[in-house]
Amino acid sequence: MEIKQRLMKIVGPERVADGAAEKHVYSYDMTENPSLPPSLVVMPQTLEEVQQIVQAANTTKTPLIPFVTGQSVGGLTIPAVEGAVIVDLKRMNRIIEVDEEAMYVLVEPGVTFGHLKKYLDDHHPTLRYTYPLAPPYTSVLANALLEGLCDLSTRHGAMADFINGLEAVLPTGEVVRVGTGASGEGNWFSRYPLPDLVGLFAGWQGMTGIVTKMALQLWPKMPFNRHVGLLCFGEEPTIRMLTRIARTQVLDDSVCVSTPLVKMVSGVAAPVELYDGEPDYGMLLTVSGNTETEVSEKINVIRRIVNEERETDSRHVLISWEGLMKLMGDQWGPFVDLPSEMYKVLAEHDGLTWVGTYIHPKYWKTVLEEGRAIVEKYGFELIANLKAMKGMHFGEFKFIFRFPKDDDTVKRVRECNAELLDLALSYGAIPYKTPVWAAKKLQERLDPNFVMLMRRVQRALDPNGIMNPGRWGLDERD
């Protein structure tokens, strides 16, 4: 029996699609990465269906690619090989459990940031999750698996750090649970002190199984919150101020973007340029506390650092949230509530991409300066995005491009991204949500034994090589 018939038997014919429309639409994402159509798309609704799909794919040696809500990047859901089946998980969208005491939520793949925020606001108003600069309908589970960043990253790190545990269907069809949830229902309070097997799934881009549930840490919604803006000039002072402020540990989060992105949010039409005399970067810094005094003192810590920097260059300006709204417009309001809402300013064309990396703090300033020169050379809008990560243990760095997907522009974007990645890699940065082309560049710089270990783990879990084959550049069967 062919895979299509097997899948139709599992989920019913109405949830299997192999028309030209599906093959086309699922062969792309929003980035410049090249397309390749799947052979069909299947839409399971239960764990049992996912398990049976994986078992069937093992029988027919059919590649499977997990897919959720469609805002995919990095070519991560574009087949890297012919004949792949996309497993669209968007209908597995239950918020299964919120544990108020241990502060975690257990979700299925189709739960999005928007849905989770609404659910928590309505039913658990004292708790919050954390939200990225991504469309509000992005999968919470997928973003955590892909180690993306969020609006608590300056305090807590990448989203994978929020995972308490997960349930997955292994490439060989077994259902496993990792983290404390392995000890029973309603007990997903931590991923430690067990061996940290979350690492077998986080960052693997779907090569080690299909994650069907995930327990994620929630946080108390603090009673007092404040946001301040910081407009600054020059890469070196900007990075220095951001680093100094982040190291004080007063921040919940920091977003530092080049001024054209600030202007986009403020309503300036594309293409947005930077003019002489304008600040180069704008930061949004978030603090919270249990009392107004605590918050005010945190702001004073920030103010002290900015004032010290102003002795060298008085153009740096710290602006209150109210002042920022007056200066930039009310459209900034939703951003602090749900950063995803700012994403709409990036929805200008059919293409959006970036090379996102995590980097050692000591190289942050240099890579920003040299990266800016590359972007300017290619003539793209200057949309740098920086975040101090995990109390300034490392930094996040990327240049975002919104672009029309015509052949010439796509070629230019690919060249620019390749140059930016080469730059970042030369300073030891590591890309996240890594496309295959970038993974191959990364492999050249990694210890060969690390790559060997990855390959060995992947093959141990997936002897038939059916799970998202080709990702991370691990396609050679030597």
Binding site: G19, D29, K344
Partner: protein, 396 residues
Amino acid sequence: MKETDSMVNSEPGAHIEEWLHSCIRCGTCKYQFLEYEASCPSGEHFGFETYFASGRIWLARGLQTNQIQWDDSLLQSIFACTTCGACEVQCHAPHRGHIIDIIEDLRRIAVENVGALEAHEKFRNYVEEYHNPYKAEHHSRELVQEHNLPETAENVLFVGCTSNYRETQIRDATISVLKKAGVDFTIVDEFCCGSPLLRTGQNKSVNELMQHNADAIRSSGAKQVITSCAGCFRTLSKDYSELGLKLDVEFIHSSEMFRDLIRAGNLRVISSASDLNITYHDPCHLGRHMGVYEIPREVLSQLPVSVIEMKKNRDNAWCCGAGGGAKSAYEEMAISTGKARVQQAMETGAQKIVSACPFCTRNLRDAAGSDEIDVIDLAELVDELTVGRKPLSQSP
């Protein structure tokens, strides 16, 4: 054809070309903005990316740039959409006001390349032969005799095919209201307005229909055309204009006429207290397509009924499921979409769903089945709860 009626029509593909590079598939079109409730009936029913607005836009781009070739397997994702326009309300990208244009453009090209869906071709043939999509014997002008209407009048009641041949109680209620309010109106020899054809990519016959209707309206001497059909209202006032028709009349939906008649005292509301709870369903063609949300509510506010809004209302109203050729070609989707709307209405505790479109009324009633909620049109409710101005002889 009158010389003034330049039959302008954009080339198939023009809208797709204009917005070729504008959608990154952020998914914002899928859900009610900030409320995170489902917004797209088609996407909810089928689930695959191809059934959401962004999928269709990407499909349009693929076809426009020859990345994919036409075949029959494309048709379902192109046509299984009610073109309700909810995606346009949610979208924040530059093309937000043009998604339905893109989808209808895609449908025109599909018809040119693969042909119309069988169900759609069937009603096109009926329109061409019987002047209505229901294969009903054409009889518009007979209503003039039946209701003793004048040959010419200030107003034309454009009845619309669904009212005229299926939901006749809406036609009769509308005529009754206009007569008892003393409105100077007539009914012309109307043909199908062309809406079912425009919505399903079968544009070629529309100019002929439009010209016939334009001539009939001109010959009536009317200054205003009233219709109780939201689909006709959109087509007459928006599509005809975009197709280049220059007709010196004003098109209004019957709800506006009802409101003005009540305000002017030409219709008097029965004053007895009522414990009737109703909820109002915004027809997509009246609401999202034409921006008329408050006028029907103003009418209802004058009647002795309690109006309880559904959670999804006005520009976020859930579609009835019938539009865009869905009822004829994708009955299962149309009914499941309608059932969802009926459920939303029942959650309000209302005894009746009141709509302002015969096609919505029809599909919601089909979807309601044996559910304990009635579906009626605004015209029926107005007719039931109003009387005409008192004759002078009875004035105090």
